[in-house]
Symmetry: C2
Subunit: 250 residues, 2 copies
């Protein structure tokens, strides 16, 4: 069943109706050609999922009636913020799309010392808006009950200052090369829901040693993610999969 | 350092020389502009890594001299074969590229009942050759010591008949919906190196119930991969990351 996020609060009880507009109407009614009586899922701002049937539509707005209310548990018990040095091309899009499918709760892109890609200040808002839209689409497709946030920070110092977290890890190739293989596990073992994990990744060229030193001084743990070298956009997926495996399956 | 796979056996001892040709020479000498004395890593057919310096080149061939020999452990202790129902567009390429980074040892693409994408018989060889090339490039980049194989099978019956494995799992959304959350962990707990895992995934539309029934009858375990819905090309990455996390980090 199609799933949409509601931007405004509703009275989430069976039998109540609510009005939708904007892109949701456009997609449900025009693209998916929903007819009166057809059902879809809507996620409320309280992370509930209501099933509602189309009652009527003007083409611009639509009225839907609630037939069921559920509170599914589909979010990672340990919320994860993925912070990545700016990478080139469509890598930020890939990180947001797949990272959303894998359960990330927030994404932060930051300028790091060895970053080659730059977001011109006048294009930043547009890029963030595009990434937010990708996050919303992926959240709908993967049946999340929240849309991950996407933000930009000028450097690592700002990341540490502006992100709320209980434990921090930084993926560092040198850790892996030195055979380090258990700090991620140890970190996860010591976390309990709903503590928040901040996971930091370098851009294509990696983080500079002084950036890793800065992170360590701030209490962030350098962790290896296995002995193979992953590209900048693959490492966050490994981390999110591992957090899910550890917290949701083990 | 640049890494290349050697196609022919060499005498892998310090001080020995060997000759390379084809794409390796083209990339190392022409693209990377290697000069005599410059070093690169070469993976032998015995999965050793030798560091060798360029001695001389004709542009078509080149002679390199071995300065060091190592046997790094970078392969998953439990080799994983990823078998996927044929999916559309560049999804097979994405699966092979990222799956290689994450340590897969083999890929199988098969026609499944609900597959929308089809590989015309006269294009199959070309598609497999392209995927094999992507696997080689990703293996070089991620510093693997083997190149994953890529093959095509006409249906699930052929997959089960032609793939060597000790334990099999199939990613099944219904398992996840029923709250199943530990069969993947149980399967991995009962495996010891170098037992082989076969992991089967549906195409975009998923596997048909009768295909899952066929797999269960053959002893393949349906497993959930967490409560979120992943796209066809993301689920194999989750599985490979989880196997690495479990076998290499925990």
């Amino acid at each position: 069943m199609q799933r949409y996020f509601l931007n405004a609060p509703i009275d989430a009880r069976v039998g109540q109706t609510f009005t939708i507009d904007g892109d949701t109407v456009k997609h449900w009614v025009k693209v998916m050609r929903a007819q009166p009586g057809d059902a879809a899922e809507f996620v409320t701002d309280a992370h509930q999922v209501v099933i509602a049937t189309l009652q009527s539509t003007t083409g611009q707005t639509a009225v839907a009636k609630i037939t069921a209310v559920t509170t599914p548990q589909v979010e990672l018990p340990v919320p994860v913020t993925i912070a990545c040095g700016l990478s080139k091309g469509d890598k930020p899009e890939q990180i947001v799309q797949r990272g959303t499918e894998l359960g990330a709760s927030a994404f932060v892109f930051f300028d790091s010392l060895w970053t080659v890609a730059k977001w011109a200040p006048n294009k930043r808002e547009r890029k963030l808006a595009r990434l937010a839209k990708i996050a919303q689409g992926a959240a709908e497709q993967s049946h999340r009950t929240m849309i991950p946030t996407v933000q930009y920070e000028a450097d690592l110092t700002s990341v540490l200052a502006h992100v709320t977290y209980d434990q921090g890890v930084v993926a560092w190739e040198e850790s892996a090369k030195q055979g380090e293989s258990s700090r991620l596990v140890q970190t996860l073992k010591h976390m309990t829901a709903p503590q928040r994990l901040l996971a930091i990744f370098g851009p294509e060229g990696g983080l500079a040693p002084q950036e890793v030193a800065q992170l360590e001084a701030a209490g962030v743990t350098p962790v290896g993610l296995g002995p193979r070298i992953m590209r900048a956009e693959t490492a966050p997926l490994y981390l999110l999969s591992s957090v899910s495996f550890w917290c949701e399956l083990v």
